[in-house]
């Protein structure tokens, strides 16, 4: 690592300017890097700047060699020292850039050009995204510190909205339910989706039809899906309760499912898993196509069984996909609203009340306080961000492996 940096720096120790003599006195400076003639004053100025930078660079080099024994640093013990070293290296890079800029005389460094290319890729999407989504989202952020009903003048209220959260019993219930819902739904959906994808990635007859069917509950009308689920789990005459009765469960012990505060969340979670596994299956199916067949062949040659192949090839190769699925699943779970609404209306009582439902009610039904609704969504946002950053860390580690 350090060695690379040093070799990068090495070539800059040299003069780029030569002063040509004309009749015994310098009349012209010639910049031989850019094939350009310069006035002597310019040249001198440039040379002075360059000398200063060169000197600084040398000094930094010296420090690097003497103060930091590049080979002897322990990544655990010398954390601070490594940090300092990184800082030093950064400064060296900066100095090098400055030197390059003077030498080449170009406005944009190589980095700048690279950045421009990258930005040109992002721009078409980002401009639309920034105008139509980011700006309103920033507004919503600011609203968390305001009180606004959409019409009357906005008032700045500081942290009042957040203070109010602590004694909002419905908010606390909603927060708890949302977390419980997400913690239960994310892993089950992930496993179900992955299993379904692996199953439907096999060469079987009618694969296209099976795949389409797996996607069905996701695209079918929510009214229909909820009606079916509630019918299966109907407390009175649902298939499940009939089965339980036949298994010998006493009538008064039968769960009331969506209308039973003990079982409502279970009903909602199982419904969600069932409805959205097809969606994530599609993502996994696409991800599975990216795995090279050779990896499986190699594993077969090593005598790996199906589980070992999954563990050593499929799972690691699917990491970027899984990263995406986990984050999207988490976000979608935290943002769940209409599925719960269709199934239980948040009930019984507040047993399945979720955050977005509470946000919606605060903004449009029970009150018209967009500021407070924003504050609640900031909590949601913080939760999601927390999960995302943890995942991000995980992804980086993977990338370094």
């Amino acid at each position: 690592m350090t060695f690379d940096t040093r070799t990068n720096i090495m070539p800059i120790f040299g003069r780029i300017l030569e002063i040509r003599e004309g009749g015994g006195r310098p009349i012209l400076a010639y910049d031989n890097m850019n094939n350009k003639e310069l006035s002597v004053t310019d040249a001198k100025e440039k040379q002075e700047k360059l000398n200063a930078l060169d000197a600084k660079m040398k000094q930094l080099q010296q420090r690097l060699m003497t103060e930091f024994n590049v080979w002897g640093l322990d990544s655990k013990k010398d954390k601070d020292k490594i940090k300092e070293k990184d800082k030093l290296l950064k400064e060296m890079k900066k100095t090098q850039k400055a030197i390059e800029k003077i030498k080449t005389g170009k406005l944009l460094s190589r980095d700048g050009k690279r950045n421009l290319v990258a930005y040109s890729f992002i721009a078409p999407n980002f401009i639309g995204f920034a105008v139509f989504t980011l700006v309103p989202v920033v507004c919503a952020f600011l609203l968390a510190f305001m009180s606004w009903d959409g019409n009357n003048p906005i008032q700045f209220v500081g942290l009042d909205n957040f203070k109010h959260l602590a004694d909002d019993t419905r908010f606390i219930a909603a927060l708890k339910n949302t977390v419980v819902y997400s913690v239960a739904t994310v892993p089950f959906t992930l496993i179900a989706a992955l299993g379904l994808a692996i199953l439907l990635n096999k060469k079987i007859k009618g694969r296209a039809i099976f795949r389409a069917i797996g996607f069905f509950p996701y695209v079918a009308s929510l009214i229909a899906v909820a009606a079916v689920w509630n019918n299966i789990f109907s407390p009175g005459a649902g298939i499940v309760n009939v089965l339980l009765t036949n298994l010998g469960v006493a009538k008064q012990n039968l769960p009331g499912w969506a209308a039973d505060s003990q079982w409502a969340m279970f009903t909602v979670v199982s419904f969600s898993v069932w409805k959205s596994m097809g969606y994530y299956m599609v993502i996994y199916l696409a991800g599975l196509q990216g795995i090279s067949a050779e990896l499986y062949e190699a594993a077969s040659l090593d005598g790996a069984n199906a589980w070992q192949k999954f563990k050593n090839v499929t799972w690691p190769q699917l990491k970027p996909t899984t990263f995406f699925v986990i984050i999207m699943l988490t976000i979608n779970c935290f943002k769940v609203y209409d599925q719960v609404y269709m199934l239980t209306q948040g009930g019984p009582g507040t047993s399945t009340l979720v955050l977005v439902y509470h946000i919606y009610q605060t903004a449009f039904v029970t009150s018209t306080d967009y500021g407070y609704a924003s504050a609640i969504s900031m909590v949601l946002f913080a939760l999601v961000l927390f999960v995302t950053i943890i995942q991000f860390r995980g992804e980086k580690n993977y990338a370094n492996d």
Partner: protein
């Protein structure tokens, strides 16, 4: 360089946000001014506006009103109302804007946000929504100087906020008891009457109930709305649903829960999870009595005529049961009203249209479609009672006459919040998650917090 760009973009977006907010703010201030003006100098402004319309009239240009409504396809009286108004005012054009039934109040609030809208007249769906809109200052106060508010039978007094009304009701439904005559005939039991106490009602329901598996007959049916049970309790006029003490609900919950236990009515949990609509439940023909709003009358007539409802051809209505010592005919009212937006550019015409729809002429047009207008004159009541398909017995016609009507939800700035608590409490009790006492304690405590 790049840092500069970043800063610039940040500043730009911030500026946008700020300008947006201040834009709303400043416009709002103007609006506040106009609102004040209309209340204090209503007459002068009316004159000015009248002058405005006069000029548009002479120039021959049509004034176009945009009217926010829901369910154009399913509602029969919008177009006749417009036709009747335009026939009288040929230089006015009215365009309906359908914001959908389910999320109507949300869509409306969004359309009116920032005090800039192209809607002139809006329907107001419910009382909590009305309260919200008034607190947002988006509705024009109604100038009542030339209006005869007594026609509305006291309803307008119940929607006063700070001694001012911001909307006029054009539709007013009330709750009655629907019953299936065939079931009573088969059981050899007398029909319900217009003067029943709750005890008599409960007894009657039990008499016609059959619990044979597969061919059940339910004596009563309560839709899953909290109104269907809780509001029995306010009909004596002594208790308020937003009062903060709900001990008075106990006897009614006891009655309904006992009926549920004995199979007199269908299980709340099953009804709720199956999303069975009350019309579907009643149309199955195995429900003897169901308390429901008068909006169900035109639906029943129409669906029986179209041949969809084959099992309830002989239905009737009677007045709501009442507590001991209370005048029969006390019932719940649900109103739908019309309001003019304060951002409207054609307030004069819009107000005129609102007064027309909510007035006597509009009432006749609405009644002709079988719907109950807010102004319930004798001619309106007899028009509906003589509709083809309406039960022919005298009791049913008599049931349309109401004594005291109480709004399902009274006006209060807390009504929406209280409503959610009451819904939760109802859900807890009816699913038997909580006992009646626990549920009532829950409501007392949580509503108490809101009222504090």
């Amino acid at each position: 360089m790049k840092k500069g760009k970043k800063v610039i973009s940040l500043v730009l977006s911030c500026a946008l946000v700020v300008s947006m907010f201040t834009g709303c703010g400043s416009k709002k201030n103007n609006n506040n001014n106009t609102a004040e003006k209309t209340t204090t100098e209503a007459t002068t402004e009316a004159k000015e506006d009248a002058a405005d319309t006069a000029t548009t009239e002479t120039s021959g240009e049509k004034t176009k009103l945009r009217w926010a409504v829901w369910d154009i396809a399913a509602t029969t009286y919008y177009q006749p109302l417009i036709d009747a108004y335009v026939a009288k005012n040929p230089n006015v054009e009215i365009e309906m804007v359908d914001l959908g039934s389910q999320d109507y109040m949300t869509a409306l609030a969004t359309q009116l946000a920032g005090n800039d809208t192209n809607l002139d007249v809006v329907c107001v769906k419910d009382i909590p929504g009305y309260t919200n809109l008034v607190s947002k200052n988006v509705l024009e106060p109604v100038d009542t100087t030339n209006l005869d508010l007594t026609q509305y039978g006291g309803i307008t007094d119940q929607i006063k906020i700070n001694d001012q009304i911001y909307a006029l009701p054009f539709r007013s439904d009330f709750w009655v008891l629907f019953y299936n005559k065939d079931i009573f005939d088969a059981a050899g039991v007398d029909y319900p009457t217009n003067d029943m106490t709750f005890e008599q009602y409960d007894e009657l329901a039990r008499k016609v109930t059959k619990t044979d598996l597969g061919s059940e007959v339910y004596g009563a049916h309560y839709h899953t709305w909290r109104s269907a049970v809780q509001l029995f309790g306010i009909l004596d006029g002594k208790n308020s649903i937003i009062g903060g003490n709900y001990d008075f609900l106990k006897s009614y919950y006891e009655m309904v829960l006992n009926e549920q236990k004995d199979g007199v009515c269908q299980d709340y949990a099953t009804l709720k999870t199956s999303s069975l609509h009350y019309s579907g439940a009643f149309a199955q023909g195995n429900v003897a009595m169901m308390n429901m709003g008068s909006w169900f009358i035109p639906t029943l007539i129409e669906k029986i005529k179209s041949g969809e409802y084959t099992d309830i051809k002989n239905w009737g209505i009677v007045k709501y049961p009442h507590a001991e010592g209370v005048e029969p005919g006390s019932t719940l009212a649900t109103i739908t009203s019309l309001a003019v937006t304060s951002a409207s550019k054609n307030k004069e015409v819009a107000t005129d249209f609102m007064n027309f729809v909510c007035g006597a002429e509009g009432a006749d047009v609405i009644a002709a479609t079988g719907t109950f207008p807010a102004i319930k004159t004798d001619s309106v009541v007899s028009a509906i009672a003589s509709m083809e398909g309406f039960p022919t017995d005298a009791e049913s016609a008599e049931a349309l006459k109401t004594a005291n009507t109480y709004l399902e939800m009274p006006v209060s700035d807390k009504s929406a919040e209280i409503e959610t608590i009451l819904n939760d409490g109802h859900d807890y009790i009816m699913t038997e998650t909580m006992t009646i006492d626990e549920g009532i304690a829950y409501m007392n405590e949580e509503v108490g917090k809101i009222l504090k």
